[in-house]
Symmetry: C2
């Protein structure tokens, strides 16, 4: 009798692939942002460099639960740029698993990996930006993510170019993706108590499981690459321009609104804080300085 | 047959008494803070004055639901001082009434009035302070409130004097009040995700219904008067002292933590924002400027 050939664990292989990709993308983004720091002219400050810091996560029962790596740059173009990757696993609480697809069916066990960044430029002419992509596994498996722009001083061309890049990306993967994910973004990044949008939008998607993991992973990689191709262009467009104190003031107030959104509504932030995540990494999104005048 | 003498509605009378008191206390506090603004020396800025702004509240069905009055001062001792009073009534949502004592028994109908203030001094040597007292009526009726101090640069004497004043106040009304309400304050104003206290504490009480409305109202008035007797002393103690840029930086970071607490945990803030309260009044507690470096 022949021994049965050992089947490779498809899910484990995919987890590794996704984790490796998030790390690669992190490296590429950090390099691109440091290049921007190098290329800025006229600033009195030195070019910023990312400082990396690894952290370990423990589950409630004390067992290892994965971890992540923060990268934080305080520079001359980017007053504060946080780029985080993580790969964590454990078990959702009884309460929380009800809210997560597929989590009730396997006792709450989950695995999640992703990359998340928020960039707070020094200049009010350079837009704040957020990008995140992630892969989640419960008894189901899916991708989620998106990117959205928050200019303090909006330029129509920037907004148009940002949306056009994301539309082209979406169109390469699904005919209805851009319409759906743009709308989702507008709905998600809305500050209800202010009755105002956080910024000018972008795309937001979640629970993406088209039936082809390869296709969904390809889309998620493309979102990351699209961010990398478009945002540096927007930053370079304005980074050497002078701004006025009134524009800086608008930026500081806009950042206050950004903090409100993240602390009150953002699912990732609240989920992380409520489930004992790494506070330093989670709150890296908060602005270096903000005003509520 | 003699007509039955009309009974005065005790609850309505009490609501009026409490509402009038919150207004009187507001006037006294605003006057005391403006006096501090006048008495500060060496500042280049003019003495600040409160600007008042009334607002009306509508219930979800469009009927009048009371309202309030904001008072905001931007001065030389107080970079931002917000003192709000309100008296509102309506019906709690099905969901929310489960969380409120006595609200399920009368179809969710509620009445609430109170005063709430947060003072953000310009000097990091003068402590941030919060004070709030309120009367709530559902099918039950009770008082709640408290005061707590958040120094950026703590002085032991300030903390000791603040606690001593509140203890003396509590001791005048209930032998166990101070121990209970100080502990409650420490537990409530704790920033779990930072594993740190918001400040140095004070007192916090809620659902106070000792059986004597008069006694509970007297205690609540005393809390307000105690705040008025102690906090101006602490402000005057340091308001003319010079501070260092490092102390200002500590203050801006402390203010960031303060914003985190209010936006993530504070019951009044979250309740107000989630139930269509007056955003401008609710978020008057946010610091004029804050940092997350």
């Amino acid at each position: 009798m022949k021994a049965k050939a050992k089947q490779p664990d498809v899910t484990e292989e995919r987890k590794e692939q996704a984790t490796a990709w998030f790390r690669t993308l992190r490296d590429e983004i950090c390099a691109a942002l440091e290049k921007i720091e190098d290329d800025a002219t006229g600033a009195e400050l030195p070019a910023g460099r990312f400082e990396r810091k690894a952290w370990d996560r423990r589950n409630e029962d004390g067992t290892p639960g994965g971890g992540g790596e923060m990268a934080l740059l305080r520079g001359r173009v980017f007053e504060k740029a946080g780029v985080n990757i993580s790969a964590v696993h454990g078990s959702f609480s009884e309460q929380f698993r009800k809210e997560i697809p597929g989590a009730s069916e396997n006792g709450g066990a989950f695995w999640a990996a992703g990359i998340s960044l928020v960039l707070h430029p020094r200049s009010p002419l350079v837009p704040i930006v957020h990008m995140n992509t992630r892969m989640i596994v419960t008894s189901k498996s899916w991708f989620g993510g998106g990117a959205d722009l928050t200019p303090a001083v909006p330029f129509e061309q920037d907004t148009a170019d940002f949306h056009a890049a994301l539309k082209a990306c979406c169109d390469r993967h699904g005919a209805d993706y851009h319409a759906r994910f743009k709308k989702w973004c507008d709905e998600y990044f809305f500050i209800k108590h202010r009755n105002e949008a956080r910024g000018v939008g972008g795309i937001f998607y979640d629970y993406l499981d088209s039936g082809s993991w390869d296709a969904d992973f390809a889309f998620t990689r493309d979102v990351g690459q699209t961010f990398l191709s478009i945002y540096p262009q927007l930053a370079r467009r304005h980074m050497n321009d002078e701004w006025t104190p009134a524009q800086r003031e608008r930026q500081l107030v806009k950042r206050g609104r950004y903090a409100e959104f993240n602390l009150i509504y953002d699912r990732g932030t609240r989920f992380g804080l409520m489930t004992g995540g790494n506070t330093e990494a989670i709150l890296m999104s908060l602005p270096p300085e903000a005003k509520w005048p």
